[in-house]
C-alpha cells in the first residue's frame, strides 16, 4: 500500500503528529505494537478511565484519553498489534501484523517509538521476581494487577515515586524503597531550579509524592551500596550494605528503575547521525528543529528524540507533522509552529534539573556481573575481550556473543560500550555502539511468505 506518511508508534508523539498531518490533508498510516493507542504512558487509558484505576493513576494519565479520541477520529489508517521489522530509504516500512508481513510505501516516515528503561545490571537482576518499575506499571495499566508482597523498589527517578504513589492510592503495599541516587546530585540539580520553576506545577507534584511517601510508613533506604537480588530459582531476598553493615529483607518482587533512554535501534540501523548525551549517557539522533534526521524524509518525535516526557512528546509530534508537510511541499503555518515550540520549551524546562538530579549511574561494575542477559556474558568476559582488541563493540560482540541474542543489545549495548571505554581509557560514548542490522524485530519465514513486494523492489 502507498501513503503520504508512515508513523511508527501510537503514543503521544505519534498520535499528535497523525492528527496534525490529517488536518493538513495528508494520508497517514500508523503502526503500533500495542492493542490500543496511548503508548506506554497512556496505555489502556480508554478502558481504565471507566474503572477505579482512573483516580489512582492520576490526572496526567486520565487526560490522555482526549488525545486518543482525537486520534481515533482523525482518519489515519491505524494498525494496532503491528510490528515494524524493517525501514528502508525510499521509503518502505515493513510491517508484521498478525504473523503476516507486508510493506507500506511512503513519502516520509516518522519514528515515534519512544523510550525504554535504562538497563543497569546489578547482582541478581535476571532472577524471576526482579522486573522493572515500568513493567510493573504496565501490569497495573493492563488489568489492574497489583504487586504482591513483600514488594521492594530500587533505583532513582520520578517513575518509582509515581508508581509507589499509585499503588498506595489503590490500597496496595510497598515494603521498601532503596534510593540509589547519589545525595551529591541534589546540589548540582539546585543550580537548574530557576529554569525548572517555569514548570512549577510538575515540581510541586514531585514534592507532594515525596511527602506522601514519607508519611506512608514505607521503609526508605538511602545512601547504600551493593544492592542485590538473592534467591535460587527465584527472588527471595533483597540485600544491601548500609553504614558498612549488611542488611537483608524478604522480597517476592524487586522492581528496578534507573531512568529512561531513547530507543535508537531504527535510526542507528539507517545510519542517521547521533549525538552522545554525556550526563544521561545515551545516544539520540541528530535532528533539526522539525525533528528531521540526517536522512532526508526520516523524522523522529517523542522520547526517541531525547527524553522530554509526555508534553514534550506531543509538542514534538506536532512540530514533526509541520516539518513533514513542509518537506512534502506545503507551507507552514507560522502561528502553529510558534505554539508547538512554546509548548516544547515549557515542557523541557524541568529537564536540566531532573537530568542533574538523576544522572546515569556510574558505580563500578563487578567482573562477575551478568551484563548480556540473552547470551549470559559477564562484565569480566567483556573486559577481557575489550583488552584484547580495538575499542570496538562489534569486535567484543564477535568475541563474546554479547549483544548477539534476540534483544540485539537493547539491554547490554550501553554497558558493553562503557566497559570498553573504561578498559581503553577513552571517554564514555567514544567507544560507539553495536552495528544494528536488520531485521529490527525478529520475523519468521511463515510471516515473510505473505509479503508482496512492490514491483520496483523486486
Amino acid at each position: 500500500m502507498t501513503t503520504d506518511v508512515v508513523i511508527v508508534g501510537a503514543g503521544p508523539a505519534g498520535m499528535a503528529a497523525a492528527i496534525e498531518l490529517r488536518a493538513l490533508g495528508l494520508s497517514v498510516l500508523v503502526a503500533d505494537e500495542q492493542p490500543a493507542p496511548g503508548g506506554q504512558v497512556w496505555r489502556g487509558v480508554e478502558r481504565n478511565n471507566a474503572t477505579r484505576l482512573a483516580g489512582a493513576l492520576g490526572t496526567d494519565y486520565a487526560r490522555g484519553e482526549a488525545l486518543v479520541r482525537r486520534f481515533r477520529d482523525c482518519g489515519a489508517d491505524y494498525r494496532p498489534e503491528t510490528q515494524v521489522w524493517q525501514v528502508e530509504e525510499g521509503w518502505k516500512v515493513f510491517l508484521n501484523q498478525g504473523g503476516k508481513a507486508s510493506v507500506a510505501t511512503a513519502r516520509a516516515v516518522l519514528l515515534a517509538t519512544g523510550a525504554q528503561e535504562r538497563p543497569v545490571p546489578f547482582e541478581g537482576w535476571t532472577l524471576p521476581g526482579v522486573m522493572t518499575v515500568g513493567a510493573a506499571q504496565i501490569m497495573l495499566k493492563s488489568g489492574g494487577f497489583m504487586p504482591q508482597g513483600p514488594v521492594w523498589l530500587r533505583g532513582a527517578g520520578p517513575l518509582p515515586l509515581l508508581y509507589a504513589q499509585q499503588i498506595l492510592a489503590l490500597g496496595g503495599r510497598i515494603d521498601g524503597i532503596i534510593d540509589t541516587s547519589a545525595p551529591a546530585n541534589r546540589a548540582q540539580a539546585l543550580r537548574h531550579l530557576p529554569r525548572a520553576l517555569r514548570d512549577w506545577r510538575s515540581l510541586a507534584k514531585g514534592a507532594r509524592w515525596m511527602r506522601e511517601l514519607r508519611r506512608s510508613g514505607i521503609r526508605m533506604v538511602k545512601g547504600v551500596s551493593e544492592v542485590r537480588a538473592e534467591g535460587d530459582e527465584r527472588l527471595t531476598h533483597v540485600t544491601w550494605v548500609e553504614d558498612g553493615q549488611p542488611q537483608r529483607a524478604p522480597a517476592a518482587l524487586l522492581l528496578t528503575h534507573e531512568g529512561v533512554i531513547p530507543s535508537v535501534h531504527a535510526t542507528l540501523s539507517l545510519g542517521c547521525a547521533h549525538d552522545w548525551n554525556a550526563g544521561q549517557r545515551y545516544l539520540a539522533p541528530r535532528l533539526d528543529t522539525w525533528g528531521e534526521t540526517t536522512r532526508g524524509g526520516l523524522f523522529v518525535a517523542g522520547d526517541g528524540a531525547g527524553i522530554g516526557g509526555v508534553d514534550a512528546a506531543v509538542a514534538r509530534g506536532g512540530l514533526a507533522a509541520l516539518g513533514i508537510a513542509r518537506r512534502l511541499g506545503d507551507e507552514v503555518d507560522g502561528d502553529k509552529r510558534a505554539a508547538f515550540e512554546a509548548d516544547l520549551s515549557r515542557a523541557l524546562a524541568t529537564r536540566p534539573f531532573l537530568d542533574a538530579l538523576y544522572p546515569a549511574p556510574e558505580g563500578r561494575i563487578p567482573d562477575g556481573l551478568m551484563v548480556c542477559r540473552c547470551e549470559e556474558v559477564t562484565a569480566g568476559r567483556i573486559r577481557e575481550a575489550a583488552r584484547e582488541g580495538a575499542p570496538d563493540p562489534n569486535q567484543v560482540k564477535a568475541a563474546t556473543r554479547a549483544g548477539m541474542g534476540p534483544c540485539q543489545g537493547r539491554q547490554c549495548g550501553y554497558t558493553v560500550s562503557r566497559l570498553i571505554a573504561e578498559e581503553h581509557g577513552i571517554e564514555a560514548g567514544h567507544a560507539g555502539f553495536f552495528n544494528i542490522r536488520p531485521p529490527l524485530k525478529p520475523i519468521t519465514l511463515g510471516a515473510l511468505a505473505a509479503l508482496e513486494l512492490p514491483e520496483e523492489a523486486e
Binding site: 525504554q116 522486573m131 504487586p147 547470551e375 534476540p406 539491554q411 519465514l445 511463515g446
Partner: protein
C-alpha cells in the same frame, strides 16, 4: 506476584486459554506475559545455562518473555494479548526456532 484490584464489570470478559495442557482463565485485557507471570512466575529457561527467566520489561525490549504460542516459538509474549482458545507453553532452552 500480582493480583488484580478489578472485579465484576470493571474487569471485562474472561477468556479460557490452554497453558501447558491445562485450561486457565485469563482475561481479555492482559498479555500472555502477564498470564505467565501470574501463573508460573516465569516464562522461559535460557538457552545458555537453562536458568529460569521471567518477563522483565513488559514492553518488547528484553526478550525474556519468549514463549511458545499456538506452536510458534520465540514469540514475545508481552506483545501478545490473550485470546480465547490460545495454546501457551513456556519456552525451554531453544535459541532461535524459525517456523
Amino acid at each position: 506476584m500480582f493480583k488484580s484490584v478489578l472485579d465484576g464489570a470493571e474487569r471485562g470478559p474472561a477468556v479460557t486459554v490452554m497453558v501447558e495442557g491445562q485450561e486457565v482463565e485469563a482475561w481479555e485485557d492482559e498479555t500472555v506475559a502477564s498470564l505467565l507471570l501470574r501463573h508460573f512466575g516465569t516464562a522461559r529457561l535460557t538457552p545458555v545455562s537453562q536458568s529460569p527467566r521471567a518477563p522483565y520489561c513488559m514492553m518488547g525490549v528484553c526478550f525474556d518473555c519468549l514463549a511458545v504460542i499456538d506452536g510458534k516459538w520465540s514469540t514475545q509474549s508481552c506483545l501478545e494479548p490473550v485470546r480465547a482458545g490460545m495454546s501457551i507453553e513456556r519456552q525451554n532452552g531453544a535459541r532461535e526456532v524459525e517456523q
